[in-house]
């Protein structure tokens, strides 16, 4: 990353970090928190779904497991960080458990299988833990938005950073090679299964952490909620709209998602999912690179207009 990029990123982080200090309106902080939460959710999905090309439709399972364990431990008296890490670990363990049989499934069956599995968890949790999980009074009294915001901000940086590091690393290259041409990669000595499992566990861990943050943030919710398929589908849509397989795609997608939702909520309630659904389909059909791709196309078109001398030979994106 060029110095310019690093500075820009640090600036952005700085702005985000100082938000709670500057803006006193809770609703804005909540909104920003939601965006950052979604950034982590989408980014973590992107590692398996985008980099490794394995369309995982059971992502909510990792999110839910992380939330479940974190909430349980934290309400049980454990400090936050260990609870979060435990949540992440349980998600990873689960992912490795199902990973080996899951990756034996090809194409359609992998996606459907993961979906079915997540649904099983969703239903079972809904049946066994049907009561709402609320914060006991002492937790409620000490509830503050700012630490939650910083946690989620930190997570967003962690997930995006992990994606960035992974993408540039040798392992990341292997993972993407498996996505492109699994058999060819195997013949070059790249173990497809190992790389897929690596992507899976990273994706699961980060999703589990995000789930833990979700559990830490919400005052009261049904334990079943984070297992809901909506979380998977939202993550998938955001990633694709932003630009699947890129580092910054999920970030753009998450921002876009929440912003558009807020705008549409003002005018026509409940339309946002229809709008996103249509946008999502359009992107899958016509612009598979998402907004990131659209942006680079626009930039190249503008650069061409400006003349040959100004042509930017390295169309890198921020954080790419």
């Amino acid at each position: 990353m060029s110095t310019r990029r690093i500075v820009l990123n640090l600036l952005l982080i700085g702005i985000l970090a100082s938000l709670p200090a500057v803006i006193k309106k809770d609703s804005i902080i909540n909104l920003a928190l939601l965006v950052l939460l979604y950034v982590s959710l989408a980014s973590s999905w992107n590692i398996l779904g985008g980099f490794a090309g394995q369309t995982n439709l059971g992502h909510a399972a990792f999110f839910g497991l992380g939330a479940l364990l974190t909430r349980f431990l934290w309400l049980g008296g454990w400090p936050l960080i260990p609870s979060l890490l435990a949540g992440g670990c349980v998600a990873v363990l689960f992912s490795l458990l199902i990973g080996i049989p899951a990756f034996r499934l090809r194409g359609v069956y992998f996606a459907i299988g993961t979906l079915a599995l997540a649904q099983v968890l969703y239903i079972v949790v809904g049946n066994t833990l049907s009561d709402i999980s609320s914060l006991p009074s002492e937790y409620l009294a000490t509830y503050q938005l700012a630490p939650r915001y910083y946690l989620v901000l930190g997570l967003a940086i962690l997930t995006t950073g992990t994606a960035y590091v992974l993408r540039k690393s040798r392992r990341g290259l292997g993972i993407m090679a498996v996505r492109e041409q699994e058999d060819a990669a195997e013949s070059l000595g790249v173990s497809a299964l190992k790389h897929k499992l690596l992507a899976l566990s990273i994706s699961a861990f980060l999703a589990g952490l995000t789930g833990g943050a979700f559990a830490f943030y919400h005052v009261g919710y049904y334990p079943q909620l984070p297992f809901a398929p909506e979380f998977t589908f939202d993550a998938v849509m955001m990633t694709y709209i932003g630009g699947v397989g890129t580092v910054v795609g999920p970030v753009i997608g998450a921002v876009f998602f929440v912003v558009v939702r807020e705008i549409l909520a003002l005018k026509v309630a409940d339309m946002h999912l229809i709008v996103f659904g249509v946008l999502f389909i359009l992107i899958v059909l016509f612009l598979p690179g998402g907004l990131v791709d659209a942006w680079s196309k626009v930039r190249r078109a503008l650069a061409r207009r400006a003349g040959p001398g100004k042509f930017d030979a390295s169309p890198h994106q921020k954080g790419d």
């Binding site: 439709l57 499934l105 194409g107 459907i112 649904q119």
Partner: protein
């Protein structure tokens, strides 16, 4: 002691017939186009609503409302295929699978939310003067509506089977299922065949949806469950066999009932999914059908 169990199983068979019908619609599309339409459940849901409104607004008999429901869904199926799915059939294998799944989910989301906006989240069902009627033999109750639904489902599938075996178009469909290239070389317009399969799949979903709305209930969120159920049955029954799929539906219905009876109601839904996962991992070709190419 035996009676409640048998009653339960009977209900399982009756609902299983609808599972089978729904699954055949999905299976037909998948077999011919190799596209798994994960918005199938939403098409079924729309079929249910179409019949609901046909009955409510036009006052016709619910079973007759199958006709407008089928017409409505056939048109929707046609539009969806032309606009969306036709662009996907030409793609390469792996991209095709991924993209059709994604597009399918996008569609299901859109359809679900359109239904939500149009008809609210309330659960609805069609009731008629004969909704409560039942035939009781040996202490077992057979609700007329549900028995009629089973008969209709059977008749529909029989008609489908005849169509596929006896007519030229049906043979063209079967040929395309096996080998679209060879089918093309026979002069079969595979694009038309794909379109037909899709429209037929939507129509079958419409019939199933109507039967669900008259015998059970419908709501905008029911789509995903029906898609999953259809998938489960499709895999249980094996691809390429209508009778196998129908029996698979019955098997699932009975298994669910038995689980509800012996374990608890809340695990009814789970058993199907677990069965599905087991079959996926152990026997990817299903219990009945031919091996996947």
């Amino acid at each position: 002691m035996l009676e409640p169990l048998v009653q339960n199983l009977v209900f399982g068979v009756l609902v299983g017939a609808l599972y089978g019908l729904a699954a055949v619609g999905l299976s037909l599309v998948f077999g011919v186009t190799k596209i798994l339409n994960v918005a199938h459940g939403e098409l079924l849901m729309f079929g249910g609503y179409a019949s609901f409104w046909a009955v409510t607004l036009l006052g016709i008999d619910p079973f007759l409302s199958i006709i407008p429901a089928v017409i409505f869904l056939a048109v929707i199926g046609f539009i969806l295929y032309k606009l969306v799915f036709s662009r996907l059939v030409k793609l390469d294998e792996s991209v095709k699978i991924q993209n059709t799944l994604l597009v399918g989910f996008g569609l299901s989301l859109i359809l679900q939310n359109i239904a939500l906006r149009l008809w609210s989240a309330d659960t609805r069902g069609i009731t008629t003067f004969y909704s409560g009627w039942a035939v009781t033999t040996f202490g077992i109750r057979f609700p007329i509506v549900r028995v009629a639904s089973l008969v209709i489902a059977l008749v529909t599938l029989l008609a489908l089977e005849l169509f596929l075996r006896r007519t030229y178009t049906g043979k063209a469909l079967r040929a395309t299922v096996e080998n679209w290239e060879a089918a093309t070389l026979m002069g079969i317009d595979t694009q038309r065949v794909y379109m037909l399969a899709f429209v037929m799949g939507a129509s079958l979903a419409a019939i199933a949806g109507t039967l669900v709305s008259v015998g059970y209930s419908i709501d905008p969120a029911m789509g995903l469950n029906w898609t999953l159920t259809s998938l489960i049955v499709m895999v249980l029954g094996g691809l390429g066999s209508i009778i196998g799929t129908f029996v698979g539906g019955i098997v699932l219905g009975v298994t669910q009932s038995a689980t509800g009876f012996f374990l608890s109601q809340s695990y009814r839904e789970v058993v199907g999914l677990v069965l599905f996962l087991l079959v996926l991992v152990l026997r990817p070709q299903g219990l009945f059908g031919a091996k996947e190419r």
